[in-house]
């Protein structure tokens, strides 16, 4: 990825990981460290929590020492396409309960083909229907793998 994004990413990911390390240490502190029968539930997490905190602080500090990042700017188009795909997938998962897998997956496919790849609507509809039907026939019917079922019963 673009250098500038990666470098500022070092800072933010370092901060996030430091927070995670701190959370692990606090949680581990509430569990037994060493008991009469040996190490408790908090023993191992405490050590890797400390390591996460120390390494993430090191990452942040080395970023700050390096100074401001120079390099290509972030390509927001690319990032947008990837995150849109994730969002489409998230919506599709959210629709599993009311609509079931088959319809939700058809909608996801339609969205990817028509919106993300800008193919003709007929192509998108055909791809969506064919792949959803294929999944239903192969997994549900042929292999007996259960698919999420919606209010319509499939």
């Amino acid at each position: 990825m673009e250098d500038a994004t990666r470098k500022s990413g070092d800072l933010w990911s370092g901060v996030a990981l430091a927070a995670l390390g701190l959370y692990i240490i606090i949680q581990a502190g509430q569990w037994e460290y060493l008991g009469p029968e040996g190490p408790g539930a908090g023993f191992f997490p405490l050590w890797y929590g400390v390591a996460i905190l120390a390494l993430s602080v090191l990452l942040v500090v080395s970023h700050l020492k390096r100074g401001s990042a120079r390099g290509d700017a972030t390509d927001w188009n690319k990032l947008g396409r990837a995150l849109s795909t994730w969002l489409a997938l998230a919506v599709s998962v959210a629709l599993f309960k009311p609509l079931g897998f088959v319809i939700s997956f058809a909608l996801l496919t339609y969205c990817i083909v028509a919106v993300m790849y800008r193919r003709p609507l007929a192509t998108a509809a055909l791809t969506a229907v064919a792949s959803a039907a294929g999944f239903y026939l192969v997994f549900d019917r042929a292999l007996g793998v259960p698919l999420p079922v919606g209010v319509l019963g499939f």
Partner: protein, 502 residues
């Protein structure tokens, strides 16, 4: 004698019609996956893993291994015809393979890739067969401290060779250990890091994380761009794919080099097929009388790396099956598969499950023959896979990922976790955090914690037990040394060079 008896037993298992069928399915899928840029073996094995739960374990491991080594064969096709590696192990094949294709020698390039893969792949299996049983016997003397030290060393090596920044690779491994701790602690029944969610009490399923981090993240990265690459013409007919006698003569050393380097690098955790292929290419170039022509379409430049990345598979299975230590993301998934089917890879794996071990070894001999047949005359047919529109392929990968995760537990919560780990995998790639240490940390986390706690129970809380025993002391010292390598200028420069080529 013991090895020969085992091998006969293995062939009896591998030649069962059902196992032959699964071997064929595995190598066929592997070839297709290897050809398709943007879909690698770890993602495919992770996606298909849940579907193997109802299969006979022998058939299932034969199929998954087939995908693993089959992808190495297929990866060269896109490197040669499109200058786009089908998977990372075939990156170096682009250098001379694509140049050969541009000069109208795509046929011999594809042919020598298949032949080198076959020769070195077979040597790799031979190495696995000869080396694994004695290593397993040696490891029988290991106890908890040695296991903890061994897992620490494996993780350290993967961290060393996983990414440019050792700090980021270490952080990824530690986050993997954290994810492995989520759920109920089996020693004390304490629930850890469950955020009040009942669904997390039994922990986070390995499959969910692996599919999210590999498959989902891969689709997201590939969806960033819309452009498609051009395919060079594929020669038709077996005659046009066969290298000449001179080509084969030129590749004699490349076959040997690829076989040996691939196996040795594979057996080293963290090495991986990409590094094996680059080392083998580098060695070939160094000893070749026409080294200045490398990069312009030299056939040894295709044979050496393609051989190495196939021989690596046999090497990588040695620590996995004899010590229970995976050396890469893909072998970590294979480890999870074995554990999920109820097996415990380690020193007792071969004596306790000879049918599975020897069946797998024998199936790899058979699989390599199948792959040679598939990849020589049928390359033009496989190349057609590249014409499949990506707008059809990516929704299919997303669909199989979701079905795979849902089939494990039937829980929509796991699908939400899949989304979380997909996003995490994508962000890790964007921010240059390697995913292999995370997956390895997750695969080894529970075992590491158990081994450490058992060691401390043995010593009544004294950490000195880890260094008081010679084998564990040596391995822990190596682990520390490995992590200190970035502090030494020359060694770090070598490490960074190896990674730049990755």
């Amino acid at each position: 004698m013991e090895i020969l008896a085992g091998l006969f037993h293995g062939f009896a298992v591998a030649l069962e019609p059902a196992n032959l069928f699964w071997c064929f399915v595995g190598v066929l899928l592997g070839t297709v996956v290897g050809i398709l840029p943007g879909l690698g073996p770890p993602a495919t094995i992770a996606m298909l893993l849940p579907l193997t739960f109802n299969m006979n374990p022998a058939g299932a491991i034969i199929m998954l291994a087939g995908i693993y080594y089959g992808a190495k064969y297929g990866g060269s096709t896109t490197s040669i015809l499109m200058n786009v590696p089908g998977e990372s192990a075939s990156v170096v094949t682009c250098l001379d393979g694509y140049q050969m294709a541009k000069k109208g020698r795509a046929g011999p390039a594809l042919g020598i890739a298949a032949i080198a893969s076959f020769v070195a792949g077979t040597v790799g299996v031979l190495g696995l067969m000869l080396v694994a049983p004695p290593i397993a016997k040696f490891a029988l003397s290991f106890s908890s401290p040695e296991y903890f030290a061994l897992m620490s060393l494996g993780l350290a090596l993967v961290v060393l060779l996983a990414g440019r920044s050792i700090v980021k690779a270490l952080l990824a491994a530690l986050v993997g250990l954290w994810i492995a701790s989520v759920g109920t602690d089996l020693f004390s029944s304490t629930s850890r890091f469950t955020f009040g969610q009942m669904e997390l009490l039994s922990g986070i399923d390995f499959v969910v994380v692996a599919i999210g981090v590999f498959a989902l993240a891969e689709v997201m990265v590939n969806m960033e761009a819309r452009e498609e690459t051009q395919l060079l013409p594929v020669p038709k007919g077996l005659k046009n794919l066969l290298p000449t006698m001179q080509d084969l003569k030129d590749c004699r050393f490349a076959f040997l080099n690829g076989s040996v380097i691939g196996f040795l690098v594979g057996a080293l955790p963290g090495g991986g097929s990409t590094i094996a292929s680059f080392l083998s290419y580098g060695l070939e170039k160094a000893v070749s009388p026409r080294r200045e022509q490398f990069g312009t379409g030299v056939i040894e430049g295709v044979a050496a790396p393609e051989g190495a990345n196939n021989s690596e598979t046999g090497g990588a299975l040695v620590p996995l099956l004899t010590l229970g230590i995976p050396g890469s993301g893909t072998t970590a998934i294979l480890l999870a598969a074995l554990v999920l089917w109820g097996f415990k890879p380690g020193p007792l794996f071969i004596p306790e499950h000879p049918a599975l071990f020897w069946g797998l070894v024998a199936s790899m001999y058979i699989g390599n023959v199948m792959l040679l047949i598939l990849n020589l005359p049928l390359v033009p047919l496989f190349a057609q896979v590249l014409r499949m529109p990506v707008y059809v392929l990516y929704p299919l990968i997303l669909g199989v990922s979701m079905v795979g995760v849902y089939s494990v537990s039937g829980s929509l919560f796991d699908l939400l976790l899949l989304l979380v780990f997909g996003l995490l995998g994508y962000l890790m790639r964007k921010l240059d955090y390697p995913s292999a240490p995370l997956i390895l940390g997750l695969a080894l986390g529970a075992g590491m914690e158990r081994a450490l706690r058992q060691s401390l129970m043995m010593s009544e809380g004294k950490l000195s037990i880890l260094v008081a025993r010679p084998i564990s002391a040596v391995m822990l010292s190596f682990a520390v040394l490995v992590l200190l390598i970035p502090m030494f200028g020359k060694l770090n420069a070598w490490r960074l060079r190896a990674l730049e080529q990755d």
